[in-house]
């Protein structure tokens, strides 16, 4: 019986590691869930005279997508966003994060622009308010302008179909 003690301890530690180490520390839960989009006033990427604020999310369900021309994973996500835009499934808004206007415009010109509006945030003003830690990152906003879901990382067709689209559909029915 005594000899089993070390084995027991080993199994316990093993179990703790098995649970702890498989959790991705990069997946931070959003603190903003079910709270309104923070106040901001930033210019549009293409039209510097167009000042965008949190009011732009009123009345429709939106998907905010944080991207940048420097972001490698955004290249992978981009075709999925183009498909979403083509099917007109949601009010897709981009946040061009820590970027330069010419580079971002170039990036979108080459690949196509899936966004209805692009918020230009080169100093992480809105990004920090949203608790963004990397790109791509996406938020679902309901008709009342509240954050309802946060997705960290690339939106794959499967994630879109199985997770994000059902949430958007449910919010639209509300």
């Amino acid at each position: 019986m005594r000899a089993l003690l070390p084995l027991g301890i080993f199994l316990l530690i093993g179990l703790a590691f098995a649970v702890g180490l498989t959790k991705d520390p990069k997946l931070l839960p959003s603190e903003l869930l079910n709270r309104p989009v923070p106040e901001f006033a930033l210019t549009e990427l293409y039209d510097e005279t167009d000042i965008l604020t949190q009011d732009m999310f009123d009345g429709k369900v939106s998907l905010i997508n944080v991207f940048g021309s420097w972001c490698v994973a955004c290249n992978v996500e981009h075709p999925v966003l183009m498909d979403i835009a083509k099917r007109n499934e949601v009010n897709l808004i981009g946040i061009d994060w820590r970027d330069e206007r010419p580079k971002a415009k170039d990036w979108l010109a080459k690949r196509g622009n899936p966004y209805r509006k692009v918020i230009f945030d080169n100093e992480s003003v809105l990004a920090i308010k949203l608790g963004v830690s990397g790109a791509p990152e996406s938020f679902i906003i309901d008709k009342a302008g509240q954050v309802r879901y946060k997705h960290v990382g690339v939106i794959t067709p499967k994630i879109w179909r199985n997770t994000l689209l059902p949430i958007i559909k449910a919010l639209e029915a509300d």
């Binding site: 990069k26 820590r98 992480s124 920090i128 608790g131 830690s133 990397g134």
Partner: protein, 130 residues
């Protein structure tokens, strides 16, 4: 009359010096406090560095935000709370003592205590043997 004017002028001079001095020390003070706050906030990109030591662009922007908030009159604790509200407990490099971290904070003492008990028990046994 002349003395009153001299008095007023010297008062203004003394005050302006004092104010200039205050402005200077407050700038240096904010710098010091920003460093202090920065050291206790985790850079969420690199995760095991504070924003004070990280070169990540996001950490740079977070440092800038800490400074502006301090300049606007926030206390150190208020700035940290502002970040915590956005990034959660995760942004604090030193985990707060709360119900879900009791195990983390008190485990070492628990183990020490268990070890002590074990030590006392076994040493008594060996003493009794010979």
């Amino acid at each position: 009359m002349r003395w009153i004017i001299i008095g007023i002028i010297s008062l203004i001079m003394v005050l302006s010096f004092a104010l200039a001095d205050a402005a200077q020390t407050s700038d240096a003070d904010i710098e010091l406090r920003a460093k202090d706050v920065g050291r206790s906030l985790r850079c969420v990109v690199c995760q095991n560095q504070s924003i004070d030591e990280s070169d990540a662009p996001l950490a740079m922007d977070m440092r800038k935000l800490v400074r502006t908030r301090l300049k606007e009159g926030d206390s150190n604790a208020e700035v940290i709370a502002y970040m915590q509200e956005r990034y959660g407990d995760f942004v604090l490099l030193k985990p707060p003592v709360q119900s879900n971290t009791y195990l983390l904070w008190f485990m070492p003492f628990l183990l020490l205590f268990a070890g002590l008990i074990w030590f006392i028990k076994t040493s008594r046994k060996t003493e009794a043997k010979p």
